[in-house]
Symmetry: C2
């Protein structure tokens, strides 16, 4: 269904993707070789090449589903008229995304190799540009822009090893609370 897929029904393919995410998180995408991915997937290098034609295809398979989640958040926010409600959908949705897959969040928002791949694929880059515009809103003064950049970078906290002992829901709630304060928002309805 997805254009990235070359062959493979799914089981071994997913094992490769999971191994890749773990290694990208630990070593960075640039520091990860196909041999490492093959070893973690309990396969040979050649078996990996059966499922993916090139290393970049593995990168894309890792990135694409995550960016699809982000794209859905952008759509939901665009469907709202009120600026403050739309902003709240954005930060809630983005935090939900990085909590849902805590490791993937770090890879997606911080790895330079991933950033290069995203930039070289306009369809992926558009998602990033669109959500960035929505976050900044109609008033792009320096204060807002700096806050939005800090918020984006702060999403990496979800995968901070120092917070690994906290359960997902606590991190989610605290991140949401802190993000609202960072961006200068009131809680939408019920207070903390």
């Amino acid at each position: 269904m997805t254009s990235t897929a070359t062959r493979g029904t799914g089981a071994a393919r997913q094992r490769i993707i999971d191994a890749a995410v773990a290694l990208f998180f630990e070593q960075g995408a640039g520091g990860t070789s196909l041999q490492m991915i093959a070893d973690r997937s309990d396969m040979t290098k050649a078996a990996v090449y059966y499922h993916f034609q090139a290393k970049e295809d593995i990168l894309l398979a890792v990135i694409t589903p995550a960016l699809e989640g982000v794209a859905q958040v952008a759509e939901a926010a665009a469907a709202t008229r009120s600026r403050s409600a739309s902003l709240d959908i954005l930060i809630t949705g983005l935090i939900d995304q990085v909590i849902e897959n805590r490791r993937l969040g770090a890879v997606l928002w911080a790895d330079p190799t991933i950033a290069q791949v995203v930039v070289s694929h306009p369809m992926l880059q558009d998602v990033g540009i669109r959500i960035h515009r929505q976050l900044i809103g109609p008033n792009p003064d320096p204060a807002t822009r700096v806050r939005v950049s800090m918020f984006g970078a702060s999403l990496k906290a979800a995968s901070d090893p120092a917070l690994a002992d906290l359960d997902a829901d606590t991190v989610r709630q605290q991140m949401l609370d802190a993000a609202r304060r960072l961006l200068g928002l009131r809680p939408p309805r019920s207070a903390t």
Copy 2:
């Protein structure tokens, strides 16, 4: 004077370090080869090896001065009795550090390869642990820990290409302001 230095008086050595920082920022430390560093420094690979015995020595030469700046911030904060004053020294000092070298900040706080090198050198790791403890303070509840993680990650904003057109002082002031709100601090004396 520094134990990292192997040979070289300084000129070519610094060119290598500058090239390395730029490449680590663009490609990640794991994705940067000695050949790339040599090309950017307008040298051959062998000439680079005259100044540094191994690739890791280049990493250390990049990290060490930056971490020394962080260590000074930690010392200044430790010399203060008041908790809120010490916290303010910490966030002001750390933001000053990442503004001073906007590219190095991103590398230092986000690259997995750098993180691995820091962990393997106890002296460097201690600096990170100490400043983390000081930021969290005597009351390590989940809310504080999540906020501190977000603050640390948010320092990467200083090197966000989307903010490259803003002058350093604007970014510094806005980051400081946002960080205080994120961590729930009052401005120490004069308001914004």
